[in-house]
Subunit: 100 residues, 7 copies
């Protein structure tokens, strides 16, 4: 099975198709023009290269559930599943399953 | 209950729906093309990453009432409440309940 | 009474409505397409964050009469008075009441 | 009498209306689409703030006759005279009255 | 036989024509407007020159199978084979033949 | 005979007119909208000045056969031959006559 | 007689009107959409101010014959002669009268 190793600040995300029905979770409004989407991080790049030459490690890690812009990323299919490859800057937030 | 942990300079804001009626507060003019909105900060990211590689902590913190551009952020619904995720740079000011 | 604490390089300015009639003062031409406006600084942010990560304090301070672009800032009303929130970079000059 | 204290890299210039007739001076062609204009520097800002955080003093000083782009600056009237407020970067050159 | 030595952050990639049929591999959806493409890195430049003056070596190396934007690069033919010359920033990920 | 000394990151290139017929060489497809062109470097500038103030020497040198974008550079004629003056960043790769 | 002292990276160039006829010199093609022009540097600014705050001296000096873009600069007339004021970055190369 082939896997993807993203470059630099790229992140591979598997979209959650059932996101609208998760109870107690995040429901995304239909009316929004750029609906944020949910997904799970599958692979992350080595970090974002700054102008200074420094490489900053990414904030998201494999397994994180994330929220990102509805138009974020490029779509890729691997072994029958849909993935998105996007820059970490296109990810808004990590969704933490609330213990609170 | 799920919560959102914003990335970098992102901020989660809960919009104040009743803002036009707050007495002694800030009234936003109807005529403005980009009406600033009020809200309360619910969660903040880890900081803004500068070109130098340095991370600057955000100026706003959880609980702050803030004023931001009318088109700022992306809308998200969680547990029936509407939230906005925006960059801190889209926030104009903190509204301090005047003791003066 | 609520007050505004601007973020970073933001400045809150109260517009001078009577500016066209001030004798010996600055008269702004009607014909200019982007007429500079006058006002008084009411609150200033903590400073402009440079790419280097350094924060530069603003040049204007509370009480300064300032001249700014006619389209500068976002309009906000508080306690019946109109304010503008703008970046300091939208301010051209401080108007000093001439002792000279 | 009110005076203007420009911010940062801003410069206040009084336009020379009689510029086309100055003998031995600079004559600006009528046909140019963006005719450079002449004027005299009346006030200068504290300097240009670089990305590094450093402030570079301006090259022009009060009293300099300068040449600038025909569309440079914003027009302001003070005590019956027309002034332009522009960034120093809109000024091309200082006109030195030739001793040569 | 002539070979290409890319400059700086440029990468020469030989496109995989048979990519849609590779079993267990990555299948690219027909509907995507900017379909990512696969290929094999044939030559890499000396590195990306940062604003700081530092040169960062590239993450991809000769022989890597890579995924890149459908419009990435400029097409060149050498000895009857089609190549693409692109910036490394146009490459999304390295495709690792899965041992997992 | 006059020669050209390019400034900074500029490079003078003499275009190879016969490029389409070179056997074993690089054949450029007719269909490409921005057909890369071949040529020989005739003169190079002193280097690219980085934001940091540092000057990076160019990677190409006099005599290099190079591949560049079909719309790269400005055309100049000197002593009956056509030259192009372009920034080194418009050059994709050096063509090495293969010993392999 | 008035002279021009250019600011920063500005350069004053006197255009060579007779350029098309110089034997053994550079002949500029009529067909080019942006025909490079020749001229002689008359005055140079103090240097280009980099983001780092450093000032880099210019590469061209008074007396240099230079080649620049056909649309470069702003036209100025002084004492009956036409000059162009441009940024050094609009100059492609210095024309050296060949001793070779």
């Amino acid at each position: 099975m082939a896997t993807l190793k993203p470059l630099r600040d790229k992140v591979v995300v598997e979209r959650s198709e059932a996101e609208e029905k998760t109870p107690g979770g995040i429901v995304l409004p239909d009316s929004a023009k750029d609906k944020p989407k949910q997904g799970t991080v599958v692979a992350v790049g080595s970090g974002r290269v700054m102008d200074s030459g420094e490489t900053k490690p990414l904030e998201v890690k494999k397994g994180d559930r994330v929220l990102f812009g509805g138009y974020a990323g490029s779509e890729v299919k691997m072994d029958g599943r849909a993935y998105l490859i996007m820059s970490e800057s296109e990810i808004f937030a990590i969704i933490e399953s609330g213990k609170k």
